[in-house]
């Protein structure tokens, strides 16, 4: 108490200046540069898109653009593809990441394997964009390293219907950052499962399966779901890898915005803004749900 009273006198240049209200206004001044930055580079650009998306070509208010999001076949297809690839890669990446995380925690893999995998995950989770596309082209592209290797073994993956420049190929590439992201976030949760819970369960005659079904999974579920939402978001917003890999043959919401910026390809600028706002809405919903689930997990795990 004494301390908090002392602080203002120390901090203000004029000791006779009392009143916390004056101090308060000075305090707010300190975040002004930050507020300015946020407004200029984040708030204004976003709100410009939002206001434009509610206007027609003549600047009148309309909801037509948002109706079109659900009616224009190209836009519907783009959103459908984006959501599909995000769901598929967050499921596959989630399951794979969980299993590897399980292996290096409860599975009892040696310490150096654990450290190694976590370090690589830290790098792979941040690896994306054009280099990621190039890495997969060099590996499983038409003339890639693995493709050539399998060819020598008499197995042509491209004859079998695989193509890197397709939905499946994009899934493969996205998983390069998806499953490490899962691994990184779920490992601490797995670590905090207490040994006592397992012992207590087996003392009462529960099998390993029962332990997982009735105890471990219910406790872990919010973290798993939260992380998968995070994975969904990271795939949904991605642009560079998809552009470099598919060259736009696969229609995604992010790619469609890209062509719209380059030149009004939809022939309706305001519809383009609505398309962008739609992406933000999906992301806000995803991250909001993530935050909600994140709060849930703190009940059992810390």
């Amino acid at each position: 108490m004494a301390q908090s009273k002392q602080t203002p006198s120390l901090l203000s240049t004029n000791p006779s200046k009392p009143k916390s209200s004056i101090n308060l206004s000075w305090d707010w001044l300190g975040v002004l540069p930050f507020a300015f930055f946020i407004i200029v580079f984040l708030i204004l650009p976003s709100s410009r898109l939002i206001t434009d998306s509610f206007q027609d070509a003549h600047g009148n208010f309309t909801l037509h653009n948002f109706v079109m999001l659900f009616e224009d076949p190209l836009i519907v297809k783009a959103y459908y593809n984006s959501i599909q690839i995000s769901v598929v890669t967050s499921l596959i990446g989630g399951v794979l990441g969980f299993l590897v995380a399980y292996a290096i925690t409860i599975g009892g893999a040696p310490g150096w394997v654990r450290t190694g995998l976590i370090t690589f995950s830290g790098i792979a989770a941040n690896f994306g964009g054009v280099p990621l596309a190039f890495a997969f082209i060099a590996t499983v592209g038409r003339t890639g390293f693995l493709t050539a290797l399998l060819n020598m073994a008499g197995f042509d993956i491209y004859d079998q219907g695989f193509s890197l420049y397709s939905f499946l190929g994009l899934c493969l590439a996205y998983n390069y950052f998806q499953f490490p992201l899962m691994l990184l976030t779920i490992t601490p949760a797995l670590e905090s499962l207490r040994k006592e819970w397992r012992e207590a369960a087996s003392n009462m005659g529960a099998s390993t399966f029962q332990y997982w079904k009735d105890i471990a999974f219910p406790i872990l579920m919010p973290s798993i779901l939260a992380t998968m939402l995070l994975l969904f978001g990271s795939a949904f917003g991605a642009f560079a890898t998809a552009q470099a890999l598919t060259g736009g043959t696969l229609v995604l919401a992010s790619l469609l915005i890209g062509t719209q910026i380059r030149g009004d390809t939809m022939g309706d600028a305001n519809l383009g803004y609505a398309l962008a706002v739609g992406m933000v809405v999906v992301m806000a919903f995803t991250i909001g749900l993530y935050a909600l689930l994140q709060r849930q997990t703190s009940r059992w795990l810390r």
Binding site: V31, L42, L49, G107, G129, V130, A244, G258, I261, Y273
Partner: protein, 265 residues
């Protein structure tokens, strides 16, 4: 006993699958990058890239932008975060939420908004390269903000901001001294981590530079990828190396820095 070995085999299986997922593309890319000259292993692809004037221009440009972004980021976020810890703790949840906004606004939407807002009159910032760079750096700052803010926030949490500030003020330091000679030295590790992540972000970024039409490394990679075969692989290895170096340095500093961090010098 039997049960135990089974679990372990199962674990090994997934460790191996995970490790293969990491290493096969990495090795494949590396292998590919060495095969530019038919029938032999060579560093030709790397030589071609390094000798390309466009690459030199791109790397210099991206390095410049990275340094500018890091400087502004540190100057903006260190005092702000410090001030919030010291005087506006109630604002912390709000600021935390704001710093997460870049996750909600995809980069493609951010650049769309920037072009739409500042591309035309009255600002017309996209008319010249120099003014477009303002938007580019602004965008980079937004993209790296969650990481920079978090790094500094965690760093500030580990020291007693209030006691350090009062102690140095009562000993006659100016505010300038408090920030530069007390707070910043205590945050060395945090600032360095934030700076390295920002560096990696800027060097690997495509969308902002591409749509703002600036000669950065990302757009250069796309151009190379269009009509070359082996050079993109060499560029990917290069990009991997930047990421590795940044992450490795963060791990290194985080380990060595904690003991010194508490004492403040």
């Amino acid at each position: 006993m039997n049960h135990k070995t089974r679990t372990s085999l199962w674990a090994w299986l997934w460790v191996i699958i995970g490790a293969l997922y990491f290493f096969v593309p990495m090795y494949g890319t590396f292998d590919f990058s060495l095969r530019m000259i038919k029938g032999q292993i060579s560093l030709e692809a790397y030589r071609v890239i390094i000798g390309d004037p466009l690459f030199q221009e791109a790397i210099v440009f991206s390095l410049e932008m990275a340094v500018i972004t890091i400087l502004i980021s540190v100057i903006l976020f260190v005092p702000t975060t410090y001030w919030i810890h010291l005087r506006l703790p109630k604002l912390r949840p709000v600021v935390e939420l704001i710093t997460l906004l870049p996750f909600i606004v995809p980069t493609i939407v951010l650049v769309f908004g920037l072009i739409r807002t500042y591309g035309g009159p009255p600002f017309s910032l996209t008319n010249t390269g120099e003014t477009t760079n303002i938007l580019l750096v602004g965008g980079y700052l937004v993209l790296s903000m969650p990481y920079m803010y978090r790094a500094i926030d965690v760093g500030l949490r580990s020291i007693d901001v209030r006691v350090l500030t009062e102690a140095s003020l009562s000993l006659g330091s100016s505010w300038w001294d408090v920030i530069l000679r007390v707070i910043v030295p205590n945050l060395r590790v945090a600032i360095l981590s934030g700076a390295l992540i920002t560096f990696a972000t800027v060097m690997g970024e495509l969308v902002l530079a591409d749509f703002l039409v600036r000669p950065a490394l990302g757009p250069y990679m796309v151009e190379i990828g269009k009509d070359r075969v082996f050079e993109p692989a060499a560029l990917t290895i290069f990009s991997f190396a930047i990421n590795w170096a940044a992450m490795g340095l963060i791990a290194f500093f985080a380990r060595g820095g904690t003991a010194q961090q508490i004492t403040g010098r």
